[in-house]
């Protein structure tokens, strides 16, 4: 099983036994109440320099209230997996939190381009699928997985992929290294106090992130009872022992949608976009993050009940999201 070629990109070296030791020492296997404020969750479980992954994006079911808290707490030097991201990458870069990005896809603009130009940002090119697949490797507890894409491109050269001779077929096959983020963030529709969580609708890789991450923060639209979870185990996406913190965050996906609950606030999305174009993103950050102490205060003072009700009412598609 010869290595035929190797990409030259930087990657967090896979370390399945290291992950195991970490899990053994840090993860609570008893079902205990993990409900805490976003302030406490981010303060305890997001560290400067962490590799961070999250499911979905600022458009839909992203953990956006946690992004804002991360910016509020001035976390620094995060390395993120921007798989299927949107302007969330820009938001986190504008907030000064991120200096390295594994790129799948992101919305780009002045903030990203300037940060690259000024060497405040380092990119490593992957793909949405490759990052999700690296998280699958991390979730399976193995050091790498073979795959059928990435080969033959500059993505391969730029990344941590390898081309090897498959010992079974003798044919070339690409390997990618497992990704075990230091911290994972997932916004869910419902969970109980222990962290048993339900996600409705399609999603990029919530199970993979939940299993692969060393630390896991769940933010949730709603907290339900453990009994309700146990009455319908089919609906559970994430079991409790994977979870370190549960943050109650109704409208936690704002300004994005949470399918089946509320639609995205296009006004806010445009406000963000224009602020970037006009170079006034600092004012946006001040308004929605630094000038308010919490997600709740932001909803109350910056968004307002009338808009929240409208966003809920405009989500006319409810079927299937239960």
């Amino acid at each position: 099983m010869q290595v035929l070629a190797s990409g030259t990109g930087e990657y967090k070296p896979p370390n399945p036994d290291g992950m195991r030791s970490w899990v053994r020492e840090h993860k609570v296997r008893a079902p205990v109440d993990k409900v805490m404020t976003e302030q406490e969750a981010v303060s305890r479980f997001v560290d400067d320099g962490d590799y961070m992954a999250y499911d979905m994006n600022i458009a839909a079911r992203g953990p956006v209230s946690l992004f804002r808290e991360i910016i509020r707490q001035k976390k620094r030097d995060l390395w993120i997996a921007a798989k299927f991201s949107w302007s969330d990458t820009t938001l986190l870069v504008a907030g000064g939190c991120v200096n390295k990005v594994d790129v799948g896809w992101m919305e780009t603009g002045a903030i990203i381009n300037n940060a690259l130009r000024e060497d405040r940002l380092k990119f490593i090119e992957w793909t949405n699928g490759a990052l999700s697949y690296r998280l699958l490797a991390g979730a399976l507890g193995v050091p790498f997985l073979p795959m059928r894409y990435v080969g033959g491109t500059d993505v391969f050269e730029n990344s941590g992929a390898k081309l090897v001779e498959d010992p079974y077929t003798g044919q070339p096959v690409v390997l990618v290294p497992a990704l075990n983020p230091d911290v994972g963030l997932i916004h869910v529709h419902e969970c109980d106090a222990f962290g048993n969580a339900r996600i409705y609708g399609a999603g990029v890789a919530p199970r993979e992130i939940a299993m692969a991450s060393r630390k896991l923060i769940i933010s949730t639209e709603q907290i339900i009872s453990n009994e309700e979870i146990r009455r319908s185990p089919q609906r559970t996406t994430i079991p409790y022992y994977l979870v370190d913190a549960v943050v109650l965050a109704p409208f936690g996906g704002y300004p994005g949608s949470v399918p089946g609950r509320y639609v995205a606030d296009a006004e806010n999305v445009l406000e963000f976009a224009f602020a970037q174009i006009q170079g006034t993103l600092d004012q946006y950050l001040e308004k929605y993050i630094f000038s308010v102490a919490s997600h709740e205060e932001m909803l109350d003072k910056r968004v307002g009940a009338a808009k929240l009700l409208r966003l809920s009412q405009e989500e006319t598609v409810r079927e299937g999201y239960q």
């Binding site: 979905m56 994006n57 458009a59 839909a60 079911r61 798989k83 299927f84 949107w86 790129v103 799948g104 896809w105 992101m106 919305e107 780009t108 381009n113 690259l116 130009r117 060497d119 990119f123 090119e125 793909t127 949405n128 699928g129 490759a130 999700s132 697949y133 699958l136 795959m147 059928r148 894409y149 990435v150 080969g151 033959g152 491109t153 500059d154 993505v155 391969f156 081309l163 044919q171 070339p172 096959v173 690409v174 409705y200 609708g201 399609a202 999603g203 990029v204 890789a205 919530p206 993979e208 994005g256 949608s257 399918p259 089946g260 639609v263 995205a264 296009a266 989500e315 598609v317 299937g320």
Partner: protein, 270 residues
């Protein structure tokens, strides 16, 4: 003879919509013209055609009007047959279930390798950074064929792309894709632009001009390319959008004006 006004993206949407077959399975880039192409086909000719999107919705029947933030929205995933995740739908493609991928590209070379990462200078300090490979790499690798849409411009049809985000026929040599681990007998099928339609020569894997719009000359097409493609004989004619297609796009599929508000306006007499 009537005058027709449309954008380059509308032309591409209509061209691709007319390629859609009901008994094939598609992998479609979400939230833009590739999605609109299959939605137009579903609305007009192939109501039952199934397609996948990267974030895991299988065979959705999107509910109009789509929201401005359509990515991952409930209306975009409406009445799917299943809601899965990215690794599952990518695996369906890896297993050979997906006939065609529909994608857009920033820049493409004569072997169909394409770029959605950056233009100008180098990777770490580009002139302009784009979104990245997204899901296009896996789609272009694992679907049996890919239909790539872009605009016919000299800086887009180049001898060598600034960055190969997604694979075409690599260097065009026989088995080039297989040698780098990609599934056998796959590759780009069509490159669709507002002015010309391209295929690929089966042997050399060189891009081949198959058809041009009725309102442009061959020379004008070639002037808009940095390399010279093969030219099919006879050279076909690429029909412009129909009134009906444009009405459906503008009134039902994209009333928010995503395609109308972007791109180049073309007015032609047909």
């Amino acid at each position: 003879m009537t005058e027709l006004t449309f954008t380059d993206l509308e032309q591409n949407i209509c061209t691709i919509a007319n390629m859609i077959e009901e008994d094939k399975l598609y992998f479609v880039q979400m939230a833009g013209p590739p999605l609109f192409a299959i939605l137009l086909a579903k609305r007009m000719r192939t109501p039952e055609v199934g397609f996948l999107v990267e974030e895991g919705a299988i065979a959705p029947s999107p509910s109009f009007p789509l929201p401005r933030m359509m990515l991952g929205a409930a209306r975009s995933h409406y009445r799917s047959v299943a809601w899965e995740g990215m690794n599952i739908v990518d695996a369906h493609a890896a297993l050979g279930y997906v006939d065609w991928g529909i994608l857009s590209a920033v820049q493409i070379d004569k072997f169909g390798n394409f770029n959605s990462t950056f233009l100008g200078k180098d990777y770490d300090h580009p002139d302009r950074r784009f979104g990245g490979p997204g899901g296009a790499n896996e789609i272009a690798s694992c679907c049996w064929g890919t239909i790539i849409m872009t605009k016919l411009e000299k800086r887009k049809f180049v001898e060598r792309v600034d960055f190969v985000s997604s694979p075409g026929y690599i260097d065009g040599s026989p088995g080039a894709r297989e040698k780098v681990g990609l599934p056998a007998n796959t590759g780009p099928y069509r490159v669709v632009t507002e002015r010309a339609l391209f295929g690929f020569d089966e042997k050399t894997h060189m891009m081949r001009l198959d058809a041009i719009a009725p309102w442009i000359t061959l020379d004008e097409v070639l002037e808009r390319m940095d390399f010279k493609p093969l030219i099919a004989e006879p050279l076909g004619v690429m029909p412009p959008p129909t009134e009906e297609e444009l009405t459906i796009i503008r009134a039902e599929i994209d009333p928010g004006g995503y395609t109308l508000n972007r791109g180049e306006w073309l007015t032609v007499t047909v």
